[in-house]
Symmetry: C2
Subunit: 310 residues, 2 copies
């Protein structure tokens, strides 16, 4: 076996890869990705990891499935980190005086300790930490991402308790028209009309699901799934179908716009607050490594980079 | 007809009574009732009413169905206010320069104008303003109040976006035991065990509904309905059944405690954040006035006052 068969982010055999499942209220975060001087989800979690592993350097860093923008929420974010043998061993020792006797040790303790540092009422919550299956890469093994966008129009109940994750719009939206418009967009297309341009990045994606539904409380939710979304794509697709629901854009115009592949002013990119990453899909364990290699290879091809920022 | 047949808070024939339906996130409010130097829902809304009716004095004041405590939320709060003929007439004039031409005038404009003053992203939202039926009194005509309490135990999804309205508890609660315990409490009883004592106030109430259920997201919700609740009663009943669900209190002890009619330390009064007033019930329009007279008469009897503070 030569070193060529090992792609760069596959962990060294000596390292233990851990999968984290994470939820956050994005309101007070400047997005996922660490940025100097700004409060970000990655920044907060990596600072907490430094505390958890304070006796063992280097502190683990996070690789994430969906690098959400400022203000975007997540209920089903996935990230991974790699532990040195010393870091892993440190998890087998109970935190004397900080945890109840008998609290479980091992990798799952990472979630409990991170949440303990964040405190109750924190806007980020680590749902679980577990040993990753061989070949797992939170970013490159992912086969789809799901997002939801919540809109309360005049026909919906407007609940102030959910105002941080729901866009309130005046007037009543035409749900049937929005459903039709969303369905007409499905499939493999070039989404340049809906993507913030990025040098050398492809805008070709497969939109596997895009549906609108009204809940019991009247709130309209858009459900979207794609292999990956380019930057601003979910919020632009939501804005375009809302323009149809408001009667401001004929459904036919929506398809014309998509096929023109240039950004215009026919619709708005919706505010971040209504958007949440709800789930990331991975293949069966036996296909994790192959999927990661395939995504990495595509990423290294010219004109195809960064398939996962929303 | 003598003046005796008109109870004090029935509006003068010249006044127009308006019903407001209101929702709020109680997190940053020191409860419903106006208090000097504190931010309260009543205080904020009455200040906004002064602005709406700035040319006509006195500014209307609010009478409410459920005087919620600090931190308690509402999705279905009801209040009323009385307008002088001049105030009512002012609603027929469009707000030039402040509202779109053609915006509806009349009583419904109160809701739109109050929400306009509060602004988007406000933690209080007036769902509607409408002419009250004859004899309607938001407080005294009410025949029942409904509350919900949300708890996320270890088996539930813990969503940071809903952390302001959900209590997070460690461990897994025994739902079946809590359901049994709740059901065993139903009926007409003296609830002194669960009420913060108040001089001269009765603690006899009819608990018409008390049920626990787990939602799709695993969150446990308690649903309670009574003619009225005494102070702290909902949060004490929730705390007592949670103690059963945690295995800390035998179900039989719960009924013993109720019948002892003294407050003890067997359970906790739960924090305000999980609690929301969801609905207030009123009789058919033809019975509104009779119901209000009946409640007022009961209130004036010795030892029966303040049936509606939670």
């Amino acid at each position: 076996m030569t070193s060529d068969t090992t792609a760069p982010s596959t962990p060294d055999d000596a390292l233990t890869r851990v999968r984290l499942d994470i939820a956050y209220d994005g309101t007070r975060f400047s997005g996922w990705s660490r940025q100097p001087g700004l409060r970000t989800v990655q920044g907060e979690l990596e600072a907490a990891l430094e505390t958890v592993f304070r006796r063992a350097t280097p502190a683990p860093t996070l690789t994430v499935a969906g690098r959400t923008d400022a203000g975007v929420h997540a209920r089903g974010q996935v990230a991974h980190l790699d532990l040195t043998p010393e870091q892993r061993a440190s998890l087998e020792r109970p935190h004397r005086g900080k945890e109840k006797p008998g609290a479980p040790t091992g990798v799952s303790a990472i979630a409990r300790r991170l949440n303990g540092i964040a405190g109750l009422d924190s806007d980020v919550y680590v749902k679980s930490a577990e040993l990753a299956a061989p070949g797992f890469d939170a970013r490159f093994s992912a086969v789809w991402r799901r997002y939801e966008y919540r809109v309360a129009d005049a026909a919906a109940e407007r609940d102030p308790l959910r105002r941080a994750s729901t866009l309130w719009l005046p007037g009543e939206l035409d749900l049937a028209a929005m459903q039709h418009a969303a369905e007409s967009l499905l499939g493999l297309h070039d989404w340049a009309t809906f993507c913030r341009p990025r040098a050398g990045a492809t805008t070709i994606r497969t939109l596997q699901q895009f549906a609108w539904a009204r809940g019991d409380d009247g709130v309209l939710t858009a459900y979207l799934e794609a292999d990956a979304f380019c930057h601003s794509m979910v919020r632009a697709l939501v804005g375009a179908t809302v323009a149809v629901g408001e009667g401001r854009m004929p459904p036919r115009r929506l398809l014309e716009l998509r096929d023109e592949r240039t950004r215009g002013s026919d619709f708005k990119v919706m505010p971040a607050k209504g958007l949440a990453l709800t789930e990331v899909g991975y293949p069966p364990d036996s296909e994790l490594a192959a999927r990661a290699d395939q995504t990495r290879a595509r990423r290294q091809a010219p004109a195809i980079v960064d398939p996962d920022q929303v």
